[in-house]
Symmetry: D3
Subunit: 160 residues, 6 copies
Amino acid sequence: MSAAIYPGSFDPITNGHCDIIRRIQPIFGEITLLLAKSPKKRPLFTVEERIALAEEALEGVPGIRIAAHDGLTVDYLRKTGVRVIVRGLRAVSDFEYELVMANMNKKLSPGVETMLVFASPEYYYVSSNTVKEVAMHGGSVKDFVPPGVAKALEAKFESR
Amino acid sequence: MSAAIYPGSFDPITNGHCDIIRRIQPIFGEITLLLAKSPKKRPLFTVEERIALAEEALEGVPGIRIAAHDGLTVDYLRKTGVRVIVRGLRAVSDFEYELVMANMNKKLSPGVETMLVFASPEYYYVSSNTVKEVAMHGGSVKDFVPPGVAKALEAKFESR
Amino acid sequence: MSAAIYPGSFDPITNGHCDIIRRIQPIFGEITLLLAKSPKKRPLFTVEERIALAEEALEGVPGIRIAAHDGLTVDYLRKTGVRVIVRGLRAVSDFEYELVMANMNKKLSPGVETMLVFASPEYYYVSSNTVKEVAMHGGSVKDFVPPGVAKALEAKFESR
Amino acid sequence: MSAAIYPGSFDPITNGHCDIIRRIQPIFGEITLLLAKSPKKRPLFTVEERIALAEEALEGVPGIRIAAHDGLTVDYLRKTGVRVIVRGLRAVSDFEYELVMANMNKKLSPGVETMLVFASPEYYYVSSNTVKEVAMHGGSVKDFVPPGVAKALEAKFESR
Amino acid sequence: MSAAIYPGSFDPITNGHCDIIRRIQPIFGEITLLLAKSPKKRPLFTVEERIALAEEALEGVPGIRIAAHDGLTVDYLRKTGVRVIVRGLRAVSDFEYELVMANMNKKLSPGVETMLVFASPEYYYVSSNTVKEVAMHGGSVKDFVPPGVAKALEAKFESR
Amino acid sequence: MSAAIYPGSFDPITNGHCDIIRRIQPIFGEITLLLAKSPKKRPLFTVEERIALAEEALEGVPGIRIAAHDGLTVDYLRKTGVRVIVRGLRAVSDFEYELVMANMNKKLSPGVETMLVFASPEYYYVSSNTVKEVAMHGGSVKDFVPPGVAKALEAKFESR
């Protein structure tokens, strides 16, 4: 069975991520969420918090593993023997970023393929960034993230 | 094993198509090229010619089936039990067309997923349309299509 | 009160059109659907059919007028004294077409303003064209168009 | 009469902003410029300076109010009962950002509509950011901003 | 001195074309307008009419030649020894078409370079197609095309 | 002979830059690489290092000058009498940034023209930023940059 990696910051995991995972898991059998330990943008949640929130959100979904990694995604792929990266596409700006990353990854590790799925229409405008911005300003994010993440965002911004 | 459908007009098959098929076949095990019998744009080659050219081009690639279909792609998927559509992405205009089709197909047949792969950089500008235009004006298409297709294009335009 | 024109082919009217009309009517008070009598692309429905389908679909929505016009939209605006054109935006390709039209219309008739609204996510992929294509191939369009339009599409393609 | 909010950083107000305000004011009767008190990007001008520059630039334009706000735009709308947000569109990248914001705002406050107008061609390339960059390097910005803003930019960068 | 080819249908030449020619002529010294004798889309004007309208429009501009050609642009370049193609860019959709053409031409004739210039903001929305559409509906095109072209368009549509 | 400026940060120079320079040098005769002394984003290499790396990479290419500049590019052009800026285009997001800059520069200095060339397909995804990111994570960059730059990147990140 062909496994796949779903890399990202997941800072925090959203309903958009969960929707993509649930849609692609039956295709690939096993999906590894690969969290970037130190993403370029300073994360709001620690890597441990991000893992715990993802675990809670995906409880009961079969075939899911969650791992964290520092460095090039292709290095992780090489180590694990997985050769498919899955990424969600929302907008044209995503498209161009993903095109660059997919080509770069393939050049760095020729056997690697990147496959893309479109975000479902109802999650098209949901991203970790917009969700954090809404929560920071006291807006309700319960339609955009799993309940545990909504609680964690609230706690994070209350304590500020 | 998870099979996939690769739908298109293939009028005619190009090196860009072949590259995508060779890259995704190991992921899905079995790939069915699904030719649209009567694409919106009047095809240059008959459906029989298009099938023969694809067969010749993909000889020796394991796990390939070639079929022709009239009607909605999701109807073919339902009949065969396959639930993954694979499509190649070149440009932003592709992106938007594919987004519409993927959402429409999913609405018409909820279990269906569309997965996208980027064309390799060296085939980014190769499409059936540009290849036909070059051939029509007497330009050489041998870098863009399999040898059998180059010959067929030459014959087609000579006889005009 | 500031009235507005909503021009298009409406060949046929879709749930996406109806959604936009219902959203903008309270803002402008009166909305005139302005059907292009002879759109560039040969229409499937006659202008009388398109008007009847729109009338049925919008029954009960206050402040709606339906008119048909041959020629430049700005000529109709000049005649009626309305100065706002409303258009729905789905994709980036819409964006560029609308940008050209808005600038051209403003140059032809300086007092005219074009205002745009985004299609709701659930209608993002619904257009008269995709709906006609689905119906032509025997797919169900009941989620994309008002009931009267679904029936009319069925009748149109059955009789072929 | 239907009022509208025109939100932004206005750091500082440009001729592009003023053009849009002058074009949409007759449509909505009353326009409230809603300045983000603490925009994501550290502003060059204080909120008081930004308000003063906008007031000077729009002197004599009827129906204009200027307000500053901290938090979600939809919270301000709810408080004031206004339900239309107007935004200017320049480029495709604007398009995607606005699409996300419009959908998010509608989800947070279902009665809210975002309407977009295209920047006039002569202001297509004028933004607060490009204007600040030109001024910082000693270039003349008199064609891009009202006279008071040009003076304020000069003063700001001279004193550095 | 480095000469350049400016290929197109010029059906008819617009103020946008003339603006680009006037801007690039001093850079390349000699510019050849290369008219496609039989463009994909059926032209409104004959090749002789298109040449005559371009000649009249560019009278007095130094270093201009006008030629017509059937076939691949690179074949004409090879024959004349010119190796630069200049094209105007308006929109993102232009961008992608030009990217495909530039790569294809370079592959067909490795020494050839395509250089692009942006249309001036005031001509951003002016194209042969929009101009013909306005004229066909009786709108005034005098701001978009040279006087001789305006007259020719009027005559063409009157006689219909 | 018509000279041209090729402005950028060159932090560091990549094979993509070198490819564009080699392609445009025969057209313009003399190309000046104009390094931004203090680009908006804090550079990895000092201006002296960036110049040295560019010099080494372009050794033997005729007609190349390398200069560094602080301030508006048009000020440098005015001083030197050069009136053509050349820029490479990779993606749609480049397109929009370049459109803004080209229009702004032309407004600030009316005689200036910006000409664009497409990056070659094999360098489409190569940029100074992606190269630095790969090198930072210990990936090999030898296919993307000249040998001297690869060595310098390695040294820079080892010493961290």
